[in-house]
């Protein structure tokens, strides 16, 4: 049975216009997420992962952030052109987002229970009575591993990991179809990271929520995701199933570089093998393939012509190396 497409992004371009320059944050992203599926988005800081997520939520910074091209459908809704009122109904109910830093993403002056209750009040008012909502708050708190009795406490009374659990509780309270998690564990201790991730995975299964997990931790991706997209300079340079990415033969040179950059405990490498060079300046992107000045396989054509998506089954790579026309 063909699964229903929950999220479809086609050729998305997003720019940030500031007084000094235009930042090309997202440059032609194509992505799909099926219902209940988990997609990992991997890439360095500034690769456009967060911008993509914010666009899905319709939360680009006003005036500054603009979608210049492309289409984005979430559960059939044209997010880019939808009126604010429709987006409001969607946010928190159809799609929720978890932000990176749990220390600052909760309102310091409102008890955590009320912060969870708010999202229910916003979306379930006509379906649930107040006491049902209160009961749901208790239930969701217990689900994320916090005793319901603590709901009257304020964020400063919780540890970082606990705060992130509250944030997750807020995001999942209305059982959204899609959860966008922007580096949900980066700010946490390593031991807590594992707990929180494990919890997210279980909850996601229970609620059958699709998830886009933004991270730069390839280990996390391997454990949780069904598919993985590798982003570089505002493009998805490679996307495929976890098997395609982790055990496949063919890779985008950037992906190879990324894998080279994580220390492998089983092999005896002397030192880390990071990719030479830096991410290109998003205000002045290079011509042709955006990775060409860092790519060990760079060819003449790479400097002028942007590579096309080359797809083989579930695996897509944006690189001239795999383009049969070029290789001839």
């Amino acid at each position: 049975m063909e699964k229903k497409k929950l999220l479809e992004i086609r050729n998305l371009h997003v720019q940030y216009k500031t007084d000094e320059a235009i930042v090309h944050a997202v440059n032609g992203v194509d992505l799909c997420v099926d219902e209940g599926e988990t997609l990992g988005l991997v890439g360095e800081t500034g690769a456009g992962k967060t911008t993509t997520a914010l666009t899905i939520m319709g939360l680009l910074p006003e005036r500054v952030g603009q979608v210049t091209e492309g289409e984005l459908y979430l559960n059939g809704v044209d997010v880019i052109h939808a009126p604010e009122g429709q987006l409001k109904m969607m946010r928190g109910a159809t799609a929720s987002m978890i932000f990176q830093d749990p220390m600052t993403s909760l309102n310091p002056v409102i008890p955590v229970g009320d912060q969870i209750l708010e999202v229910l009040e916003l979306h379930k008012k006509d379906k649930m009575s107040h006491s049902e909502m209160e009961a749901r708050v208790d239930q969701i708190l217990e689900m994320v591993g916090i005793p319901a009795a603590r709901k009257t406490e304020y964020p400063h009374q919780f540890s970082g990991g606990m705060k992130q659990r509250v944030v997750i509780a807020i995001a999942l309270a209305c059982e959204p179809l899609l959860l966008l998690a922007d580096e949900p564990t980066t700010a946490l201790d390593v031991t807590i990271q594992a707990q929180v991730l494990e919890m997210m995975r279980t909850l996601k299964k229970e609620l059958n929520t699709a998830m886009v997990l933004i991270t730069h931790d390839l280990g996390v991706v391997a454990r949780i995701c069904d598919r993985v997209g590798i982003m570089y300079a505002g493009e998805v340079v490679e996307i495929g199933t976890v098997e395609d990415i982790y055990t496949g033969e063919k890779h985008h040179p950037y992906t190879t570089g990324l894998f080279g950059a994580i220390p492998d405990l089983t092999k005896k490498t002397r030192r880390l093998n990071p990719i030479d060079g830096l991410m290109p300046d998003p205000t002045r992107l290079p011509s042709g393939c955006k990775f060409h000045d860092r790519c060990p396989h760079c060819m003449e054509i790479c400097k002028t012509a942007p590579p096309q998506d080359i797809t083989e089954g579930s695996h897509t790579i944006k690189c001239h190396l795999y383009d049969k026309e070029v290789q001839k």
Binding site: R91, F99, T104, V109, P111, H123, Y154
Partner: protein
């Protein structure tokens, strides 16, 4: 919480003692003999010496200070050198005048400044925002006495709608209050706008938006309480200071308040009145501060937990 309030009230005692001591010392070192002041230029040396002895002025400084404190605690602040009336009778009728002035001045500033500041921040860069910011900037730059004089010229002399100086009935308060409000309101507006702008960039505001909350809800439920903390501090401080007398405005409009009383008593070396007025001002400032701190703890649970712990 009650314990905290009690503790803070007790702490005001050493503060007031400290202030009274410093004041007493300053008065001591300023030239001028009270006995001479009371008796006037024509008094003979014997007369002055007699009065000094009678007033206890020949005693040691510390003895006199302790005597002052002991008397003051019993509600006796001495007699005015200038009028010969008891200091309490000099100060008490003045205080309500200043209180009214300061209260309505601040209330006006808060009622106008905060909402406009919020609107200005929410509609940043709009025409309305520009108008508000420019007006606020102008009002903060205008010297109070000039604004007071201009208002007086327009409404009292030209139009004749309001009395220029008389505070016998409420119409007399309008011009001084408006003058007082203008400057404070402009400051409050600018502060509210900037703290509000800062607050709506916080991560938790983004979280609230991601929940699907409307702008209105975000402003009033999520941002306002966080943004108002610094504004409340400012309002409290200003009110505290103004309770001690709004010197310039009281002089411009000849309002018989604490400020003009202090100025007169300084000029006439009327030290008992001066001491009492300053102590009263300090006491008011302390009370207002305490009130602000209590308000704070109701707005920000982090502060409350500190109080309860401390």
């Amino acid at each position: 919480m009650l314990k905290f309030v009690g503790k803070r009230l007790l702490m005001m005692i050493p503060v007031l003692l400290g202030i009274s001591f410093v004041l007493f010392a300053i008065v001591e070192f300023t030239p001028g003999d009270p006995a001479q002041l009371i008796l006037g230029e024509g008094a003979t040396r014997e007369e002055i010496e007699e009065l000094r002895e009678e007033m206890g002025l020949n005693d040691n400084f510390f003895v006199r200070y302790v005597r002052y404190v002991v008397d003051a605690v019993q509600g006796n602040f001495g007699t005015s050198y200038r009028t010969g009336k008891s200091v309490v009778d000099e100060v008490l009728p003045r205080f309500p005048v200043t209180l009214r002035l300061a209260f309505f001045g601040i209330a006006g500033a808060v009622i106008i400044g905060i909402p406009i500041g919020i609107i200005s921040a929410v509609k940043q860069y709009s025409k309305l925002d520009m108008v508000c910011t420019i007006t606020a900037l102008t009002l903060t730059s205008i010297p109070t006495f000039w604004l007071g004089l201009m208002l007086m010229l327009l409404f009292a002399l030209k139009l004749g709608w309001l009395p220029a100086t008389n505070v016998e009935n409420w119409t007399g308060y309008i011009l001084p209050c408006v003058t007082l409000t203008a400057g404070t309101m402009a400051m409050i507006l600018r502060m509210t706008r900037s703290t509000m702008l800062e607050t709506i960039r916080q991560d938790y505001i983004r979280t609230a938006r991601a929940k699907g909350a409307s702008t209105r809800r975000i402003v009033f439920k999520h941002a306002l309480r966080n943004a108002l903390l610094p504004v409340i501090t400012y309002v409290g401080m200003t009110f505290g200071i103004q309770l001690g007398g709004t010197v310039i405005i009281e002089s411009v409009f000849s309002v018989p308040g604490m400020g003009s009383l202090m100025i007169t008593s300084i000029r006439m070396k009327d030290s008992p009145v001066l001491m009492a007025s300053v102590l009263l001002a300090a006491f008011c400032a302390g009370l207002v501060n305490l009130f602000v701190d209590i308000l704070y703890s109701y707005i920000d649970p982090r502060i409350k937990s500190q109080y309860v712990k401390g």
